[in-house]
Amino acid sequence: MNVHPRARDYTQSSLGEMIPNESELTAGVKIEPGKQYGFFTDTTVCIGCKACEVACKEWNNLPADNVGLTGHSYDNTGALSANTWRHVNFIEQSGGGGGGASVRDNEQNAFQSGWLMMSDVCKHCHHAPCLEACPTGALFKTEFDTVVVQQDICNGCGYCVPACPFGVVDVSKADGKAHKCTLCYDRLKGGLEPACAKSCPTDSIQFGELSELQARAKTRVEQLHARGVHTAYTYGTPDSPGATGDMQYLNAFFLLTDRPEAYNLPAAPTRPSNRIAPALTAGLATLAGLAVAAVALLAASGEERRHGR
């Protein structure tokens, strides 16, 4: 493992002050405004420990919700919500991933091959539909190319909720405002790596500059293909599934080994704003058609009355 040379400057257990640009030591990247940052989530190394969920809740002071057992595998979080900004999916494959045993069978394939685990999060879309739908400007693009809700401006209209093709944004019943992952905006401003990525013990969640992450993901897919995992692909990188429908790319993208739907991701997400023009045209055309029909009917009835029939 490569240790950053600056790490030798901070060998003591407790520090009197924050480490400047700490992300250089923990994620190998210096956080600077004006650059694009995001997450690369490699699901092939996720062990479902939920450290990311806990770190997110801890840092963002998010209350626990959905208290109880869902009965869905080891997943008791359920889904992303106003109070849950990271959610580890547990997908039990009925065919063991390669036509072998199910995870519920006594005989198991090696290396937990029947399990798919994925830490889901806001995708911080390049063309963010939630941002496009927001009438107050509460949702905005930060200097780090991430998407954040400004709580003092959000009026809780909820337009962003159906606009998100991934079902990420949610309006809290408690405070009536929209909430979602901020990609730890406050930490980025302080030179810190986002809490979830920092806590991930297997580096399934990697934080960094987007171009660097995309290159890393490409190399990882090639490695997996070389090892015989031909199902590996990226979701959300340019010209890949997840970057369809004019989305271009997602700042938080994934490496998957099954169909997107298996991970509860849409196969071909689109921007709702792209449907406004066709929908408006169809509406206007219908209105014009009805007007023409009404005029024709009125003209016909007037003609009949004139002829005294």
């Binding site: 002050e17 002071n61 209350p63 626990a64 109070n83 709580q151 003092d152 408690a174 405070d175 009536g176």
Partner: protein, 84 residues
């Protein structure tokens, strides 16, 4: 409940009561305080009284009103904000 606000994130905050027990709060949608007023209270380590109710489906309390209190004679001096 009375105490000191120790952590603030958006409209969520943590209050440390007189026994040192921490309680998590979410501002109510019609609370008599705005989200941007919380952080100054935290940095001043001001003593406050929070009127609240239980939240349904959340391990949190819903804060309806925050009143500023006089500091106790035994209260420590507020810490200087980091970077000042």
């Amino acid at each position: 409940m009375e105490g000191t606000i120790t952590i603030v994130q958006e409209g969520r905050f943590q209050l440390s009561d007189d026994r040192g027990v921490s309680h998590q709060f979410v501002l109510d949608r019609v609370a008599l305080v705005e989200t941007e007023q919380l952080r100054p209270l935290q940095s001043r380590q001001a003593r406050v009284r929070v009127k609240y109710t239980d939240a349904s489906g959340l391990i949190s309390l819903i804060a309806h009103r925050i009143e500023l209190l006089e500091p106790k004679p035994s209260d420590p001096e507020p810490l200087e904000p980091v970077g000042s």
